[in-house]
């Protein structure tokens, strides 16, 4: 069996039982079905340690994607994929064209780091596109792929406006962040948020997180970081085009494209009715014209 040595050492828990509602101890929130949960990722606190990536891979048993260096700053992961459900972006702002800037703006200065993840959209395009019902909304208001139902049609992949969902070449199914559905069921905080050493990733009830995020933006503005804004909170960039709010939202300090995020994503399902309606009308018109031509005396 290919088991890391450390995993063999720790084959059994040292606790005789689970801590009930452990998330109350680690995240200050009790996980209960019927409420909305999400992530608030504050990029001004991210130090780029990638503990979230590692914790996610360990808990979810995900294989490595890329062995090697990309040459793109400290980002050797590349992108979110079927096997990578947290991905830390690294953006080096200062020192373009060989010159080092001699002034630095507050917070993160020339370094931008951001832990990207599935956004668990309110009107999730992947879920709406799924023709098998494998993608579903859980009792925690998150979006999860049921692995025993997915038949690998791949339609959720282009449906996602953020390029999150991916098909695995190993098993031919779609995979993405589950917001640790299994951990939530057991009253645990998701692995990435629990492992984040600076609380850049915060897990909690959505309304609570949105309130915290508003306060953090106000605080940053007071401290002089006037470029701080929320991405994916109700009414902000990212929550456009009928997508609704994003359950995993972000505090950013540069334009969305810097972090590989679209400025104004849209809900794909809204294009179904105009497309089908116009197309069928044209076909009906041509069929009527064909009937007129065919019944003509000529």
């Amino acid at each position: 069996m290919d088991m890391p040595a450390r995993a063999a050492e720790e084959s059994a828990s040292r606790l005789d039982r689970m801590i009930p509602n452990e998330s109350e101890l680690t995240a200050g929130v009790r996980v209960e079905p019927g409420k909305s949960y999400g992530f608030f990722t504050d990029t001004t606190l991210c130090i780029g340690c990638k503990a979230c990536e590692v914790a996610c891979k360990e808990w979810n048993n995900l294989p490595a994607d890329n062995i090697g260096l990309t040459g793109q700053s400290y980002d050797n992961t590349g992108a979110l994929s079927a096997n990578t459900w947290r991905h830390v972006n690294f953006i080096e702002k200062a020192g373009t064209c060989g010159l080092r800037e001699n002034t630095q703006s507050p917070f993160q200065s020339g370094w931008l780091m951001m832990s990207d993840v599935c956004k668990h959209c309110h009107n999730a395009p992947c879920l709406e596109a799924c023709p098998t019902g494998a993608l579903f909304r859980t009792e925690f208001d998150t979006v999860v792929v049921q692995q025993d139902i997915c038949n690998g049609c791949g339609y959720c992949v282009p449906a996602c406006p953020f390029g999150v969902v991916d098909l695995s070449e190993l098993d031919g199914k779609a995979h993405k962040c589950t917001l640790c559905y299994d951990r939530l069921k057991g009253g645990l905080e998701p692995a990435c948020a629990k492992s984040c050493p600076t609380d850049s990733i915060q897990f909690g009830e959505l309304e609570d997180l949105q309130g915290r995020a508003e306060k953090r933006v106000a605080q940053l503005h007071e401290l002089g970081a006037s470029n701080a804004y929320l991405y994916g909170a109700p009414g902000s960039p990212g929550a456009t085009g009928d997508l609704g709010h994003l359950n995993a939202f972000f505090l950013l300090t540069d334009r969305p494209e810097t972090y590989n995020l679209p400025a104004a994503p849209t809900r794909a399902a809204n294009r179904v009715a105009p497309s089908l309606g116009t197309g069928l009308a044209a076909v009906a018109g041509l069929a009527l014209a064909a009937f007129a031509l065919l019944s003509g005396r000529d």
Partner: protein, 348 residues
């Protein structure tokens, strides 16, 4: 997980890194996009479809649907005179439940679970809508074809003829769906080229299907129905051409036009619009002007069918290119491209 496998899992073609890391967010690296990109990496993921397989299905499904629709129209308009056309329409409509469905299942990444498509019916998912359109079209067209074949063996059983006739209308209605739903399927994604022009792309797919159906039905038909079907094909090609102009205008306005600068864009412009639309239009017009020349008409039919197939394959491939280019997707996902009014559909 062995180490060898883990290495193979890496990106197939790692993106070309900029000369220095700090240039990652330096603006102006593309002449279409002034803003930053993330090391030139794609912002959305391209569809994992096999473009030849799925493009082939979209073509065959559209052809089958249009053939069933036009055969029913010809039968209503001409009666017994259209009998050969109706027979050919029934044969062509068999392309969808056989080869077409086979291609779709082949493209699944877990094909043995194809029946999971029948678990749900979802108005937000054109793939689910399409599954049920294909299922009902297959049912009606198989019923019609089987009843018609049986009635030739057993001419005394008149209910067989009546069954074949009764299956015509539902097959025609679902056939119209077969010609169009595939455009909605592509448009209801975040792939910029497909999402940019949902309406005109659906008109293109629908009219191209009808042109292909009319071309296939009229080929080798020397009668009056064949001549009229040539006119129908010409009309459908004209509608296709108009929708193509509208599409390209929309592509330019929304900023996705650069995705058509590549090889597949050239196929779309020269192959599909040039050789697959304008050329058969000219050939059909020339043929009809001479009181129908079978050679010209057949040549036009072949060009129409090839153009209709290449329209689907090139649209899919150019769509993939638009998804892989962050300059295109960032430019497309700007606030000015948001729909003017919020949709009334699918409230949650």
């Amino acid at each position: 997980m062995s180490e060898r496998l883990a290495t193979e899992l890496g990106p197939k073609q790692p993106p070309v890194p900029p000369p220095t890391a700090s240039q990652a967010s330096a603006p102006g690296r593309s002449r279409h996009w002034e803003g930053p990109t993330y090391y030139g990496r794609p912002q959305v993921k391209a569809a994992p479809f096999n473009n030849w397989v799925v493009g082939g299905y979209i073509f065959l499904g559209g052809l089958a649907g249009a053939a069933a629709l036009l055969a029913a129209v010809a039968d209503r308009a001409r009666g017994p005179e259209a009998a050969p056309t109706v027979r050919r329409g029934r044969a062509l409509s068999m392309l969808a439940p056989t080869l077409g469905a086979g291609l779709l299942i082949y493209d699944l990444h877990t094909p043995r679970r194809f029946y999971n498509m029948l678990r749900v019916a979802k108005p937000t998912s054109p793939m689910s809508i399409g599954t049920w359109i294909l299922m009902s079209f297959s049912g009606f067209s198989i019923l019609g074809a089987a009843a018609a074949a049986a009635s030739r063996w057993l001419p005394r059983l008149s209910f067989l003829r009546r069954t074949a006739k009764a299956a015509q209308l539902p097959a025609a209605v679902t056939g119209a769906g077969m010609t169009t739903y595939t455009a909605a399927l592509l448009s209801a994604t975040s792939t910029p080229l497909w999402a940019a022009a949902p309406r005109s792309m659906a008109v293109r797919f629908g009219s191209s299907s009808l042109a292909a159906g009319a071309a296939a039905l009229s080929m080798g038909d020397t009668g009056r129905v064949g001549r009229t079907l040539d006119k129908v094909a010409l009309l459908a090609l004209a509608a296709d051409l108009a929708a193509t102009c509208v599409s390209h205008n929309t592509y330019r306005r929304t900023g996705v036009a650069p995705a058509l600068e590549g090889d597949w864009g050239k196929v779309e412009k020269l192959g599909v619009t040039g050789l697959g639309t304008l050329l058969p239009m000219g050939l059909y017009a020339a043929s009809l002007a001479r009181g129908r020349s079978p050679a010209l008409s057949t040549l036009a039919g072949i060009a129409t069918l090839a153009g209709s197939a290449m329209l689907r394959v090139s649209t899919m491939a150019a769509g993939d290119e638009s998804a892989n280019r962050p300059d295109v997707s960032f430019r497309f996902n700007q606030p000015q491209n948001l729909p003017k009014r919020p949709s009334r559909w699918f409230r949650r």
